[in-house]
Amino acid sequence: MDPSQLLKGVLDLAVLAVLREADGYGYDVLRRLRAAGLEDVADASVYGTLRRLFAAGALTTYVLPSEEGPHRKYYGLNKTGRDLLAQSTKTWHHFADTMSVLLEEEAA
């Protein structure tokens, strides 16, 4: 099974979860996802997901200067984003539990 296919469905949730810890700019989010173990995530899809969540009103954005030079566009959760994260988390747990039960039955 190709993990990147699975990832497509839950990338929103993963990005929201990463931003719950702290606001971050695009590449920062990407690095944190990789560090969390999602090595297969495609660069462009993370940027796309950020844009979609922003368009949906779940994220705020602001620009900060960085030490290395270029200004960076940071994304952060707003109330809508936190609500979405809570709701998605619930959905995910329900789905994961269902899948686990199903798979255990199969195995048993």
Partner: protein
């Protein structure tokens, strides 16, 4: 994000931009900001491993081809698939665009016709109509854009031709000149067009004092619009037609001011101060636009009479004196006085066209043959010469300091004071008749 990418990374960004060119401009710029940020980071990482800039191949190995990258971005961001963006409602947008351009052309035409039409009333209406049409053009233009960047206008064949022509002209200037043109020329142009359009409208149709205020307000408004336009290019739909008006009005106004007395050249006319109403800009008395310097009244029987003239508010209808005292210049430097007693005496000029102050002659004889009696006498009987002065309305103003002279009486008087033009009440009369 303010970094400028170079080499392969810049080329990569350009290709991604092309792939995503169907996106709304605002979203496109935002997402490309992110892509720039991304490419900067990736370039930094790859440069750490290699020497010099990463090759296009290195970028493609890491990120996929620009097309793959763009497609991935498009899918994840939920953008519509390529080539499907907002086609159906394009017909309405094109119609709005077409009518907008027509309105943008017709509006200034109305305005200019209004400004140069002789009658103030219809001219003002035409100007209002023109402004309304220009406003409509702007609204239609905005509708045609449907949130897209005004750059779409340049994507039509004609638009791109025009843009190429203008760019060709600009390319002949050196970068320094171009920058100066932008930093110095643009504000100057903003102020100039504001003064001319704001002040010009009131200068033609309104009062002189309002003209100055309107010119200043127009300049301020114009600068404000200019700044707004820099931030939001959609304002161009209003600004371009107004610029057309201004580009025509500015030279015309300059020429009219230089020649003096043109229809829009009243700015430099000293007579506007303190006057009001139509024709407020022109001092003295005019009929059909021509100055009147003297009035020769005749009674019903065709005999010359001497009268004092007042307008419907009881204000004396004064004209500057042209007698010997005024003509020779006042030794004390005061301005020549005015009179509402007509006909006023005029210094007789000698053959050289000058009058000798020491040996000056005056006359109130009409410089034309007495007109024949009108075929249809007017219904209201004219006052007789003797009664005319006595029966004139006495406005609620200070009584003239001297008795009104009857025709033939010779009462030479030198003005005792020099009141400003049109000061109500003070009727300095000089009636040196012979």
């Amino acid at each position: 994000m303010n970094t400028t990418l170079t080499g392969p990374a810049a080329a990569y960004l350009a290709e991604v931009r092309t792939e995503l060119s169907d996106l709304p401009p605002g979203e496109l710029e935002d997402v490309l900001d992110d892509v720039t940020d991304h490419l900067t980071e990736v370039t930094g990482e790859l440069t750490g491993e290699l020497t010099g800039e990463p090759s296009a191949q290195a970028l493609a190995d890491r990120l996929g081809t620009p097309r793959q990258y763009a497609d991935e971005l498009r899918t994840a961001a939920g953008y519509p698939p390529r080539g499907q963006a907002a086609r159906p409602e394009n017909a309405g947008a094109m119609a709005a665009l077409r009518w907008g351009i027509v309105a943008a052309t017709v509006g200034p035409f109305f305005l200019i016709t209004g400004i140069f039409s002789g009658s103030p009333d219809s001219g003002f209406l035409l100007c209002l109509l023109g402004l309304a049409v220009i406003g409509g053009a702007g609204a239609l233009g905005l509708r045609a854009l449907q949130g897209r960047h005004p750059r779409v206008v340049l994507e039509t064949p004609r638009g791109s031709n025009a843009a190429a022509t203008i760019r060709g002209i600009l390319d002949q200037l050196s970068p320094g000149q171009r920058r100066e043109l932008r930093t110095v020329g643009q504000p100057v142009w903003w102020v100039a067009r504001g003064i001319v359009v704001g002040g010009g409208l009131f200068g033609v149709f309104g009062a002189g004092a309002a003209t100055v205020v309107a010119a200043v307000a127009g300049a301020a408004f114009s600068v404000w619009v200019g700044r707004r336009t820099q931030e939001d290019r959609r304002w161009l739909w209003y600004v371009v037609p107004l610029n057309v008006v201004a580009t025509i009005a500015v030279p015309v106004w300059l020429v009219a001011s230089l020649v003096g007395g043109g229809p829009v050249g009243r700015f430099d006319n000293p007579g506007y101060v303190g006057s009001s109403g139509y024709n407020g800009g022109a001092p003295g008395l005019t009929i059909d636009g021509q100055p009147v310097t003297n009035i020769y009244p005749f009674d019903a029987a065709g005999r010359p009479v001497k009268v004092r003239l007042y307008d419907e508010k009881g204000q004396p209808i004064n004209l500057p004196l042209q007698n010997c005292a005024a003509n020779g210049g006042n030794p004390d430097g005061t301005e020549p006085g005015v009179t509402n007693l007509f006909p006023q005496s005029i210094a007789v000029q000698d053959r050289d066209g000058f009058s000798d102050p020491d040996n000056c002659r005056e006359t109130d004889k009409p410089p034309f043959a007495a007109p024949p009696m009108p075929a249809t006498p007017t219904t209201s009987p004219l006052p007789t010469p003797g009664a005319s002065t006595a029966s004139l309305p006495t406005p609620g103003l200070p009584t003239p300091t001297q008795s009104l002279s009857t025709p033939g009486a010779s009462v030479p008087v030198v003005p005792t004071t020099a009141p400003p033009v049109r000061t109500p009440g003070v009727t300095l009369t000089v009636a040196p008749t012979r």
